[in-house]
């Protein structure tokens, strides 16, 4: 490989320009531009031939044709006396040096043309990029003219019908009333209608019958539970931190979840909703709860830029972390301009209680922590004293261990300590030479005793030295950490080690003589307390009593939200070349995305710049914000967006199936004061929404994927609606709104699934099984699968069994078998059973004695319940 490259480099190449772009420029870009482009360190700019000829403080970097005179060559070969490049790093590979040397020797050819891929500072957004559809201002289009407008119910329908007419397709007729009301219920509140509600709707012949249903549902507090949840997908909401080792729950994450639900329920205008999540602490009325959008971040490096650009703007801004965006006009600089906003903030509690209450709690908690520490330190200190005494007694114990292992029963020793010695010696202390040959009668026990006591003393000295070195606050702590010599350490570890010294050593077990706090492997029973007497014992008892008093006086912790706040001083990020923190490029002043700014982006000046960022996103003139959001709403109503890639409106994203309709909806949305409820209403009252989901051979032949919306898409219930529907069908659903999360796998938890504990560490099994999105990333859609593991849930889960049992109980009062069966259909499917269904059901029920629970489980499991027509 290496020889190959040298060979290539030494060949005469026909096309110098191509050679430069393919071989030379990448090396310069990777190795040199980081410090010698816009930030010309040492006065040297290496992004042009002139720059190299002119050179820096030390003189010209390149003398074309002369390897010996070119500083560039000397520095990268490390033959220069002082300068060795790249600075502070190892030499670049020989193959690369060879390429550069050959290039210099051949005259340092530098083509006139610009590089084909923009690297470094001269990033220019082309006119063609600016003309991309999603960056054009939203203009409200006129309604298209139609040949036949009998089907039309709303403005939306004009756009749908026009495209269908182009293809000579007819939209499906309206769904029957039963399907329609079930669709509206599950769609808007995530719960099915009751039999009576369906009946009432079927009997209501007034022209606005459906509008009344829709308005009723939008006014229901359950509406926010369903639609708020879809925003939580975007916000990658979870109730714990991302950690694979331990559970780290957020005590107050639910406040953000409830705030989102409430915002939907009270129809908080979307532009305000956006601003409250980016800068809620900086706008009126002040409310920092929405800042949970960032305060509950999974803390991946690019997370906050990712969720901001994809979530609000459907741009894949995080792609620009390591390089200029390959497809969209988002230079790396834009990524760091936004990153700077967030790195100028920190996580913070947004307190929701009076200051006095907060202070009282914190003061009390501080006292508790202090006493706890005192107790721990005391126990540890006592344990070390006991350990020293036991070490001094080690000859007796080792002798006793020999007896035990040969079947004897020595007496007069501490039993647990003896047990530990036996266990330890039995496995053989491999790493500890001091006990080699302990089994032999002539083993020098007193010498061992002395070693044990000495190593304890030595370790104390090392600890002391480390404490001092820490106290001198030497920044280079690596050079001032002391340790015992390896083999001494093993002796110390085996006898005296405790987790007290630090959790990172958790693979090791405690020393066999240690009885202190934070114990590990061996210390299953005894504690140091059994050696305490008199004043020492009293001291411990007193401290524990004090702790108990303090703890019982601690009130429940004050309410707060997980938020962010600005740092005292805001700082710009510098570009990290290739996404590598050690390779810093030019500074990226905190600002909004270039493509969405008029002219050059104006640097943010107020604090971190969050408010300016929020205003730029929520600006009605922003071509993306409204389009992206109406498309999200559309997607959840129809199962697919007008733009299918709802979080990517860039070049590589989907193009809108109905661009005018998208703009129509977006402009109406802004005109209606960013009202989300009005948007729903507009969609639900269209003929498009109300069409049936039935199959149509002619339309299917032309448009099998239903992009033109000749019918409503049939959809599977998502994880939450499915669980909630089952609980509602059996009459068990607890409809309480809001509050702390509850584990979904608790059998007694009958609350809506929205209130289930959402874990980044280990997602609830049922949610995961039914395609709940990964809460570590902003999620754009609900994918639905039909895996066999899901059907196992229906066949064998305790949850389904319990629902079947509940359904049986609910139907029990009905004595007549046929009538009971008919009632089951009304309760579950809000309809009457057909004669064939009655026949099949009765045949099953009559074939065995106790078949009702099985029958109920079959009904609860049906496609009719799981899918929405």
């Amino acid at each position: 490989m290496r020889h190959g490259l040298i060979l290539i480099a030494s060949l005469l190449y026909a096309d110098q320009a191509e050679h430069f772009e393919l071989k030379v420029r990448p090396i310069l870009a990777n190795r040199c531009f980081g410090c010698h482009s816009t930030a010309p360190l040492g006065g040297l700019t290496m992004t042009s031939r002139n720059g190299l000829l002119k050179g820096g403080k030390t003189g010209p970097a390149v003398v074309p044709g002369s390897i010996n005179e070119s500083l560039l060559v000397q520095t990268i070969e490390h033959t220069h006396e002082k300068l060795k490049m790249p600075m502070g790093a190892s030499k670049i590979p020989d193959a690369e040096i060879a390429v550069l040397k050959q290039w210099v020797k051949d005259g340092a050819f530098w083509p006139e043309t610009k590089p084909t891929t923009p690297t470094g500072p001269a990033y220019v957004i082309t006119d063609q990029q600016r003309k991309f559809w999603s960056f054009q201002p939203v203009v409200k289009p006129a309604l298209p003219r139609l040949k036949d407008s009998t089907w039309i119910k709303s403005g939306i329908d004009h756009f749908i019908a026009a495209r269908l007419e182009e293809k000579n397709l007819k939209p499906n007729p309206a769904a029957n009333k039963k399907d329609l009301i079930r669709r509206a219920y599950l769609d808007l509140i995530g719960l099915p209608p009751t039999f009576d509600q369906v009946q009432a709707f079927e009997e209501d012949k007034s022209p606005n019958a459906f509008a009344k249903v829709v308005d009723g549902l939008l006014a229901s507090p359950h509406y926010g539970e369903r639609w708020g949840r879809y925003w939580l997908d975007v916000a990658r909401y979870a109730d714990d931190r991302l950690d694979s080792d331990v559970d780290l729950p957020y005590p107050n994450s639910f406040r953000y979840r409830d705030w989102v639900v409430e915002s939907f329920n009270k129809d908080l205008p979307y532009n305000h909703f956006v601003k409250a999540q980016i800068a809620g602490d900086l706008i009126e009325p002040k409310n920092g709860v929405g800042l949970g959008f960032y305060g509950l971040s999974p803390e991946l490096t690019d997370d906050r830029v990712d969720v901001t650009t994809r979530g609000f703007l459907a741009l894949t801004g995080a792609c620009s972390q390591c390089h200029d965006h390959k497809f969209d006009p988002i230079p790396t600089k834009d990524f760091y301009a936004l990153q700077g906003v967030f790195s100028s903030t920190k996580r913070a509690e947004y307190e929701l209680a009076p200051a006095a209450e907060v202070k009282a709690w914190k003061d009390q908690d501080k006292k508790i922590q202090a006493v706890k520490q005192r107790i721990e330190a005391f126990l540890h200190q006592q344990a070390m004293m006991v350990a020293e005494a036991l070490a001094s007694d080690s000859p007796r114990y080792i002798r006793a261990a020999r007896q035990v292992l040969s079947g004897g029963k020595p007496e007069g020793l501490d039993q647990e300590t003896l047990d530990r010695w036996v266990r330890y010696l039995k496995t053989g202390p491999k790493d500890n030479k001091y006990l080699h040959g302990w089994q032999n009668e002539n083993f020098d026990l007193s010498k061992f005793r002395q070693e044990a006591l000495t190593v304890l003393k030595q370790r104390k000295e090392v600890d002391e030295k480390n404490l001092q070195s820490k106290a001198t606050n030497d920044p280079d702590t690596k050079s001032t950490t002391y340790a015992l010599p390896t083999e001494r350490f093993f002796l110390w570890r085996d006898l005296f080690f405790s987790d007290f010294y630090g959790r990172e050593f958790k693979q090791e077990e405690d020393g066999i003589l240690y009885y202190g706090p934070n114990r590990g492997y061996f210390t299953t029973d005894g504690t140091v307390e059994r050696w305490l007497e008199g004043i020492s014992k009293k001291y411990l008892v007193d401290m524990r009593a004090e702790l108990k008093d303090l703890q019982s006086a601690l009130p429940p912790q004050y309410a707060y939200a997980h938020a962010i706040k600005d740092n005292a001083t805001a700082v710009n990020e510098r570009i990290q070349i290739g996404g590598q923190p050690e390779r810093l490029g030019e500074e990226a002043p905190r600002a909004f995305l270039s493509i969405l700014s008029k002219g050059d982006p104006k640097p943010f000046t107020k604090g971190s710049g969050r408010l300016e960022l929020a205003e730029a996103i929520a600006d009605p003139a922003n071509p993306l914000t409204a389009r992206v959001f109406v498309n999200r709403i559309w997607q959840h109503h129809f199962g697919e967006g007008l733009v299918k890639t709802v979080s990517n409106f860039g070049l590589m994203g989907d193009r809108p199936s109905h661009p005018e309709l998208l703009d129509y909806l977006a402009s109406e949305f802004v005109d209606n004061g960013w009202s989300i409820k009005k948007l729903h209403r507009q969609i639900l009252l269209s003929a498009t929404y109300q069409s049936s989901s039935a199959h149509n051979e002619a339309a299917f032949a032309v448009d099998p994927a239903n992009r033109l919306l000749w019918r409503m898409n049939r959809q599977r219930l998502d994880a939450e609606s499915m669980r909630d529907t089952l609980l509602a069908a059996t009459g068990e659903l607890d409809r309480k709104i809001g509050g702390k999360p509850v584990l979904l796998n608790e059998p007694a938890n009958h609350r809506r699934s929205l209130y289930g504990y959402v874990s980044r560490r280990k997602l609830d099994g049922t949610l995961a099984l039914f395609d709940f999105p990964n809460p570590n990333l902003s999620a754009e859609q609900r994918i639905t699968t039909a895996s066999p593991l899901q059907q196992l849930f229906f066949l064998n889960s305790e949850f389904l069994e319990a629902r079947a049992q509940a359904l049986v109980e609910r139907l029990k009062p009905i004595r007549n078998e046929t009538e009971r069966l008919r009632e089951a259909y009304r309760v579950l499917y809000s309809r009457e059973a057909t004669p064939k269904e009655v026949e099949l059901g009765l045949a099953f029920l009559n074939s065995s004695k106790d078949a009702w629970r099985d029958y109920a489980q079959v009904l609860l499991n049906s496609n009719e319940l799981v899918f929405v027509n």
Binding site: S90, K91, S244, D245, T316, K430, D431, T477, K478, T481, A483, L484, T486, F490, R493, Y501, K506, Q507, E508, E509, G520, Y521, T645, N648, L651, G653, S693, A694, H695, R716, R761, K762, L763, G765, A768, N774, N776, L777, I783, T785, A786, S787, P788, L789, Q790, Q791, L792, F793, F794, L795, N796, E798, T834, L840, R853, V858, N861, S862, N863, E864
Partner: protein, 467 residues
């Protein structure tokens, strides 16, 4: 019974249009004639040391206790001194390749092992490296290798998941490691906790409740009749049909999975050969974070039973979090290897004697290796351990059409940096796919506006290791 046979025997009239999710797992034609049909990836999470296992370095004996000679800025910055391996090496088999005492049993099969000594990856940090070893990228959000395999090849047994990840506990980073990310979620790895002792505990809802599997048949028959009534009314619909099909598979899976995951069906002698302890010693539970005796062994035995039944991709993590992360004391490796060596050797022996090793590729390795010098950073209690090393480490390939008894590539004289025939993680993935009959450049999926691959924009097949 295969899925195809199933379709022929059931639901006449509904077998033509199959639900999307179900058919995605049908066996598919590979790009070229495959060498292997299954992969078992034994993942030594935490990062085992290459110079203490399969890449011996005499220079470490020579320079023991001294700073690394030569120009290694990172080494100088870290201030550690070179440390010889405390473990004895020996040559094995006809090939005479060396292994340390830690893997003496595995090394009995040395002539079947291809030792890649020139591995490297992008970052020396666990989460990024472990993500990369699974998905090719150091950032989350990309499909796992096993998901790519079932996406490209489907699986041979429709009664079991196609990609199964076993771990006693959860490895560092967690479920993202077997995530299908943007691939259809039918390709998601199925996580199975192998510290559980029974199939019921390993797979949610696998045991039929309230009756035998046969009795359940009546329920399923009624369910099908009722749903077919509804389907007739709805007309053609892939979603509804798909769910009816997948219920059949679920029904069959109950007997198949209960059997496949039940290691108690193996004779006691075999379980002992893997090192599965009969009765769990509860005092062992006190060890935090370390694996308990026999959990990894159980994973290995289950892995064997799964590939015997046609499962495409199986991954067994060594244990919870990152057990091989021996910062303080490399001697901890001895205890870990005692749990790893025996079951690995037993697995190779079993697959060899059944002939399955020919079509099963076993991959063994961690997310990175360890530095040849001691770690002396901040809170290290004893300076007898090694820090992470992404610049050179070892991965083993066994069976599945690789050249056994060969060492491929090399690290420098200290075992620090990969210098010869370097194999990046992307190259390893390209090679695995190649052995499975897939061209890593052609195995693509459109997402977020472009085509994605397991190997990002890199990857070269290490052709020389292929038999």
């Amino acid at each position: 019974m295969t899925r195809r046979e199933l379709l022929q025997t059931t639901t006449a009239g509904f077998g033509t249009a199959i639900g999307l999710a179900a058919s995605a797992m049908d066996p598919k034609t590979p790009h070229h004639t495959p060498k292997a049909k299954h992969v078992i990836f034994l993942f030594m999470n935490g990062g085992p040391s290459q110079v203490d296992t399969f890449d011996p370095k005499p220079a470490l004996d020579k320079y023991h206790g001294q700073p690394i000679p030569g120009d290694y800025p990172k080494a100088k910055q870290e201030k550690g001194t070179l440390m010889r391996s405390p473990f004895a090496f020996k040559q094995y088999g006809q090939s005479g390749l060396p292994a340390s005492e830690l893997f003496a049993k595995t090394a009995q099969h040395m002539d079947d092992i291809c030792v890649i000594r020139s591995m490297h990856c992008d970052l020396p940090a666990h989460p990024q490296a472990i993500l990369q070893m699974n998905s090719g990228r150091i950032i989350p959000g990309f499909p796992s290798w096993g998901s790519w395999l079932t996406y490209g090849l489907g699986t041979e047994n429709q009664n079991l998941p196609g990609f199964i990840a076993l771990c006693a506990g959860v490895p560092d980073v967690g479920p993202q490691l077997w995530s299908s990310a943007f691939l259809p979620s039918v390709h998601q790895g199925t996580y199975v906790p192998c510290d559980e002792l029974t199939p019921e505990k390993m797979i949610q809802h696998i045991r039929p409740r309230g009756g035998t599997i046969a009795e359940q048949r009546r329920k399923v028959e009624l369910w099908k009749s009722l749903n077919e009534l509804q389907l007739r009314e709805a007309g053609k619909d892939a979603l509804l049909e798909g769910r009816i099909q997948s219920m059949e598979v679920a029904y069959r899976m109950q007997s198949e999975a209960l059997d496949a995951f039940d290691v108690d069906k193996e004779p006691l002698a075999i379980r002992e050969r893997y090192g599965i302890v009969g009765q769990r010693d509860t005092s062992e539970m006190k060890i935090k974070s370390a694996t308990r005796d026999g959990d990894f062994a159980r994973g290995c035995l289950v892995a064997r039973r799964l590939v015997e039944r046609g499962v495409r991709a199986v991954q067994v993590y060594f244990g919870n979090d990152k057990p091989w992360d021996s910062h303080h004391d490399i001697l901890v490796h001895r205890r870990l290897a005692a749990q790893a060596d025996q079951p690995i050797a037993a697995l190779i022996a079993d697959l060899k004697s059944s002939g399955l090793l020919k079509e099963t590729l076993i991959v063994i390795g961690g997310e990175f290796g360890r530095r040849p010098w001691t770690e002396v950073a901040g809170r290290i209690n004893v300076q007898n351990g090694r820090n992470h090393n992404n610049e050179g480490f070892t991965t083993l390939l066994i069976g599945g059409g690789v050249k056994g008894g060969t060492a491929y590539g090399a690290t420098d004289e200290f075992g620090y940096q990969s210098v010869e025939k370097k194999v990046h993680v992307n190259d390893l993935h390209a090679t695995i796919l190649h052995l499975m009959g897939l061209d890593h450049l052609r195995l693509t999926y459109p997402y977020s506006g472009r085509q994605f691959r397991l190997t990002d924009v890199a990857g070269n097949v290490a052709k020389e290791i292929i038999a």
